[in-house]
C-alpha cells in the first residue's frame, strides 16, 4: 500500500502488520487491564463504520461524541472517519445547553454519548436537535429501563455492521480507500476564551502532519505505552494519542475512571505524556505539600536531594558536564529520592514529558528537571496543531522552543505570532468571516504575542489582546505574573490586573483551600469555611510573603502593589474559567469590578455581593467583606 494519508488507512496498515499478535489497547475494567489486539480494534472499527452506514451515515456527515477516554471513543472516531465523515468532540462536563450548541452547529446526524449521564443530556435537548437520527451509548449501566428507540447500544450498531458485511463484503475497504488527506477528520471546538466556541475543521493531512512534527525529534515505537486521559474534545489527544497510535503502533491504555488517573498513571508508567501547564503546577505543589506532611527522615532526604537535582538540571541547561563528584552525588540522590518520587507520579519510563496550554513558570520546569523528568514545552493550537517545541539538547526554559520541522513561524508588526505549515486547518465550520480573519495566504494568525530570539527560539508572552499597558505606558504580561504566583502551593489561581487608566499592577488571588487549610491546622488556626479562611489576617500575611517573593524578580513597573484574597474559587460552572480551566479575564474583571475599583481607589475593605449559580441552575447571593492588602 502507498503511504497512507488518512487515519483509518493507517489503522488498516497497523492491523495488517500486527493482526492478532500484538496488543493495541488496554482498558482497566473490574480492576484488571483488559487487552485488545489490533485485530479486535480493527474489527470494532470496521463493523461500527458499516453499522453507521447501515443506519444512514453519509460521506461528509458529522458525528458528535461525548464521553470519557475509552477504547470505544477511539473506535467511534475511527469508524466515523472510515465512513468519510467527521467527528466533533464535546467535553464530558458540558451542560445540555452547551451540548446542544455543538450538536446543532456541527450538523451532527449521529451522537455517541457514553452513558446514562450523557444520554440524559441528549434526551433533555431532543426537540432542539431534530437532525440527530440516533444516539449511541457504550456504557449501558442504568439505561436498561429506558424504552427509547432513539437510543442505541454500541454493540447493536456493531451487530448491524456485521449484517451489512455479509450483504456487501468489501464495502469497508472501499470506503477507507476513498478517504483523502484533505478530508476533514475532526471538527474541534475551541474552548472559547472569548466568545462562543468555534468549530475548527482539522483534516487528516493536518493530523498526520501534527504527528510528524511532534515526533520528528522524538520518535515513538510500537513498544511504547501511553495513557489516554486528555479530554478528546481537545486537539492534543487526537495528535499525540490517536494519530501516534494508528501510525506508530504505540499501545494506548485507558484509565478505569477519570478519578483513577493517578493510580492508572503509576501502573502504566507511560513513555510519553502531556499535561496542561496547570496540571504540572498542581503536581509540583502536591509534591511539595506531601513532602511537608511526610516523615522527618523523608523530608530531610528530600531537602538534601533537591538542591543536587537543581544543580544537575542547571548544568544540563548550560550544556556543561558535572564533575565526577557531582555525578556520584546525583546518582545517590536519584536512587534515594528522585526515582521513588518519579515512580509515585508514574513518570519512571517517561522519555518525553510535554506541557502545553498556558505558559508554565520556569520554577516548575526547573523543579521537574531536578527530579529527572525531561520536561519540554510544546506550543501549538487547534488551528495549526504544532507550532514550536523543545528539541533534545536544545532546551531553554524561558522559550517554547524552535519551530517544528516543516513549520514556518513569523512575528507580525504588532507582535502577533503567525504560523504556516501543512498543519494549518481548513477553516472554521460555518464561519467564513472568522476564517478569513485568521487565515491569510496560508498564515494562521495565532492571536498570541511573542518574539523570536537571535538563535531561532520563540518566546511566548501572552495573548496579544491580553498584554496590558499601565498609565505610564509600561507593558506587562499578566499571565506571566500569574504563572509565577501560582507556583506557591497556597495560591490556586489568580488574576493580575492593570490597564491604561491604572497606575500599578494589582491582583485577585484564590487561595488553595486544601493547602492553606492544612497550613492553618498545623498552626492551630481555627476556621470554618473557605470565606472565613480566606479573610484571616494570618493567611493574608502568608500570601503577602509569596507575592513579595515574586515581586523581587519582576521589573519595578510590573510589581504587584495590591491584592485581595477572593472569598470563593474561580469556577467553570460560573463561567469564570473555561472548561480547560483557562481564566476568562474580561468576565472575571467585570464580575469583581467592586473589588478591583476598591484596590485602585485606595479602600482597605469592600463588601462584595456575589451571585452564585448552583449546579441545579438556581442562583443566590452572598455578602462578604474583603480586605485589601497593600505592599508599599
Amino acid at each position: 500500500m502507498a503511504q497512507a494519508d488518512t487515519l483509518p488507512k493507517y489503522l488498516v496498515q497497523s492491523y495488517q502488520k500486527h493482526g492478532n499478535q500484538k496488543v493495541a489497547m488496554r482498558k482497566k475494567e473490574l480492576g484488571i487491564w483488559r487487552e485488545f489486539t489490533w485485530k479486535d480494534s480493527y474489527e470494532q472499527v470496521k463493523y461500527l463504520a458499516l453499522g453507521l452506514v447501515g443506519l444512514g451515515l453519509q460521506r461528509g456527515d458529522k458525528v458528535a461524541i461525548i464521553g470519557d477516554n475509552d477504547p470505544q471513543y477511539y473506535w467511534a472516531e475511527l469508524a466515523v472517519q472510515a465512513a468519510g465523515a467527521a467527528a466533533a468532540g464535546i467535553f464530558t462536563d458540558c451542560v445540555p445547553r452547551e451540548v446542544k450548541y455543538i450538536v446543532e452547529h456541527s450538523d451532527s446526524t449521529f451522537v455517541f454519548a457514553k452513558d446514562q449521564e450523557q444520554c440524559d443530556k441528549l434526551l433533555a435537548i431532543r426537540d432542539q436537535v431534530p437532525k440527530v437520527e440516533k444516539v449511541i451509548h457504550w456504557d449501558p449501566k442504568g439505561l436498561g429501563g429506558y424504552d427509547e428507540p432513539w437510543l442505541l447500544g454500541f454493540d447493536q450498531v456493531v451487530a448491524l455492521g456485521r449484517e451489512l458485511e455479509t450483504a456487501r463484503p468489501g464495502l469497508f475497504q472501499e470506503m477507507v480507500a476513498q478517504g483523502k488527506a484533505q478530508e476533514v477528520g475532526i471538527i474541534c471546538y475551541t474552548s472559547g476564551t472569548t466568545a462562543l466556541p468555534k468549530g475548527a475543521m482539522v483534516t487528516h493531512g493536518n493530523l498526520i502532519f501534527g504527528y510528524q512534527a511532534a515526533t520528528a525529534a522524538d520518535p515513538r515505537y510500537d513498544t511504547d505505552d501511553y495513557l489516554s486521559f486528555l479530554p478528546l474534545a481537545w486537539i492534543t489527544e487526537h495528535v499525540l494519542g490517536l494519530a501516534v497510535h494508528v501510525i506508530s503502533g504505540m499501545v494506548v491504555n485507558f484509565p478505569e475512571e477519570p478519578e483513577t488517573i493517578q493510580t492508572d498513571l503509576r501502573e502504566i508508567a507511560p513513555c510519553s505524556l502531556l499535561f496542561s501547564s496547570r496540571l504540572w503546577e498542581n503536581v509540583a505543589s502536591t509534591v511539595q505539600v506531601r513532602m511537608n506532611d511526610s516523615s522527618p527522615l523523608k523530608r530531610a532526604l528530600y531537602r538534601l536531594a533537591l538542591p543536587i537535582g537543581h544543580r544537575a538540571a542547571d548544568l544540563r541547561f548550560q550544556r556543561k558536564e558535572p564533575n565526577p563528584f557531582w555525578r556520584a552525588l546525583h546518582a545517590v540522590a536519584d536512587l534515594a529520592v528522585f526515582r521513588p518520587l518519579r515512580d509515585k507520579l508514574g513518570l519512571v519510563k517517561v522519555r518525553s514529558a510535554y506541557t502545553s496550554g498556558a505558559a508554565l513558570s520556569p520554577e516548575v520546569v526547573r523543579f521537574f528537571r531536578a527530579l529527572g523528568v525531561n520536561l519540554k514545552q510544546i506550543y501549538g493550537s487547534t488551528e495549526a496543531i504544532v507550532h514550536t517545541l523543545h528539541q533534545e539538547g536544545d532546551i531553554r526554559m524561558e522559550t517554547v522552543g524552535r519551530p517544528a520541522p516543516g513549520v514556518e513561524v513569523r512575528v507580525a508588526e504588532d507582535g502577533e505570532i503567525l504560523v504556516r505549515s501543512p498543519g494549518v486547518f481548513a477553516g472554521y465550520y460555518h464561519d467564513p468571516i472568522t476564517t478569513a480573519e485568521k487565515l491569510e495566504d496560508g498564515w494562521f494568525h495565532t492571536g498570541d504575542a511573542g518574539y523570536l530570539t537571535q538563535d531561532g527560539h520563540l518566546i511566548y508572552l501572552d495573548r496579544v489582546k491580553d498584554l496590558l499597558e499601565l498609565a505610564d505606558g509600561a507593558r506587562f504580561s499578566p499571565q506571566y505574573i500569574e504563572g509565577r504566583l501560582k507556583f506557591s502551593p497556597y495560591i490556586k489561581d489568580t488574576i493580575v490586573l492593570g490597564g491604561k487608566e491604572r497606575a500599578f499592577v494589582a491582583a485577585i488571588v484564590n487561595i488553595d483551600f486544601e493547602n492553606v487549610g492544612k497550613w492553618a491546622e498545623n498552626r492551630r488556626l481555627p476556621y470554618t469555611t473557605f470565606v472565613d479562611l480566606s479573610q484571616k489576617p494570618e493567611v493574608y500575611d502568608l500570601i503577602r510573603r509569596d507575592v513579595e517573593r515574586v515581586n523581587v524578580a519582576l521589573p519595578a513597573a510590573a510589581r504587584v502593589r495590591k491584592f485581595v484574597l477572593l472569598h470563593k474559587e474561580f469556577d467553570p460552572d460560573e463561567a469564570e474559567l473555561t472548561r480547560t480551566r483557562k481564566l476568562r479575564r474580561a468576565f472575571v474583571e467585570e464580575r469583581y469590578r467592586d473589588l478591583v475599583e476598591a484596590m485602585y481607589c485606595g479602600l482597605d475593605q469592600v463588601i462584595v455581593r456575589a451571585e452564585v449559580r448552583y449546579r441545579d441552575g438556581r442562583t443566590g447571593t452572598v455578602e462578604t467583606p474583603i480586605k485589601v492588602c497593600s505592599l508599599d
Binding site: E29, L30, G31, I32, E256, T263
Partner: protein
C-alpha cells in the same frame, strides 16, 4: 417496651420505607428482622418461613443483608478487603485450602473478586478500591457499607438511614444507587430514612412507627396527608412538600 404489636408485610418487588420520630423503634425493628434482637413475642417470617429464632449469621445466609446507621466496617482494611470479607458466607473451601491458596480456594477467590469488582463498578468506587476505609470521607464510607451489604448477594436488603449526614449531592447519588439496586438487581428493600423528600421520591409504600407501634401505612401520597402521621411524626409544623 421498644416495639408492641407491630405487624406489616414487605411485598415482593417494592421499596418499603419505615419512618417515625426518634426513639420510635425503627432500628429495633431492623434488629429484630436480622436477628440482632430476639422479640419476646411475635414472629418474623421470610419467604414464608419463620426466622425469629435464627441467629444473625443464619439469617444472612438466607439472603437478608443490612447496613448500619453508624457505619460498621473494618476501618483498618481497604474497601476491597471489606467487600471480600463480606463474601465469607459464600466461600465453600476449607480453612486449610484457603491458607495454602490451593485448588478450589484459588478458583473461588477469583470468582469472589469478580463479584466484588462488579459491585465496585456498580457503586462507582473504583478510585477507593485500595484505600483504607478509615481514611475515606463519610459519604464514601456509607457507599462502601452499602457495597458490603450487596456483597452478600442478598434477596432482601435492610438499609438503616443510608443518607443520614450526607449533603444534597451525596443524597442524590445514594438515592440513585438504591433505585438502581432495586431495578437492576431485583433486590427488595426496606429502608429507614429521616429525609422525607427521599422517602417520598423512592419508596413505593411507607410504614409509620411511633412509640413502638404502627400508626399508619400506605403510599407516600396517603401518608403525607394522614392526620395521625402529621401529628405524631411531623409535629405541629406543616410537612414540607419537597
Amino acid at each position: 417496651m421498644a416495639l408492641a404489636g407491630v405487624s406489616f408485610r414487605v411485598k415482593a418487588g417494592e421499596i418499603l420505607a419505615v419512618i417515625g420520630p426518634n426513639g420510635a423503634g425503627k432500628t429495633s425493628l431492623l434488629n429484630c428482622i436480622n436477628g440482632f434482637y430476639r422479640p419476646q413475642k411475635g414472629a418474623v417470617f421470610f419467604e414464608g418461613r419463620p426466622i425469629t429464632d435464627l441467629p444473625p449469621h443464619r439469617i444472612a445466609r438466607l439472603g437478608i443483608a443490612r447496613t448500619f446507621q453508624n457505619i460498621e466496617l473494618f476501618t483498618g482494611m481497604t474497601t476491597l478487603d471489606n467487600l471480600l470479607a463480606a463474601r465469607h458466607i459464600h466461600f465453600r473451601s476449607g480453612f486449610l485450602a484457603g491458607a495454602l491458596y490451593f485448588g478450589r480456594a484459588h478458583a473461588e477467590e477469583i470468582v469472589h473478586r469478580q463479584v466484588v469488582e462488579e459491585i465496585i463498578d456498580f457503586l462507582e468506587i473504583e478510585a477507593q478500591r485500595k484505600k483504607v476505609v478509615g481514611a475515606l470521607p463519610y459519604g464514601l464510607r456509607k457507599r462502601v457499607e452499602l457495597g458490603r451489604a450487596l456483597a452478600l448477594e442478598p434477596k432482601f436488603l435492610l438499609l438503616d438511614e443510608p443518607m443520614a449526614g450526607m449533603n444534597v449531592e451525596e443524597k442524590e447519588d445514594m438515592a440513585r444507587f438504591i433505585l438502581d439496586i432495586y431495578e437492576e438487581k431485583k433486590i427488595h428493600i426496606l429502608l429507614i430514612e429521616h429525609d422525607m423528600g427521599v422517602v417520598m421520591d423512592i419508596a413505593d409504600r411507607v410504614v409509620v412507627l411511633d412509640f413502638g407501634q404502627v400508626i399508619a401505612q400506605g403510599t407516600p401520597e396517603e401518608i403525607k396527608h394522614d392526620p395521625r402521621v402529621i401529628k405524631a411524626y411531623l409535629g405541629q409544623a406543616e410537612m414540607r412538600e419537597n
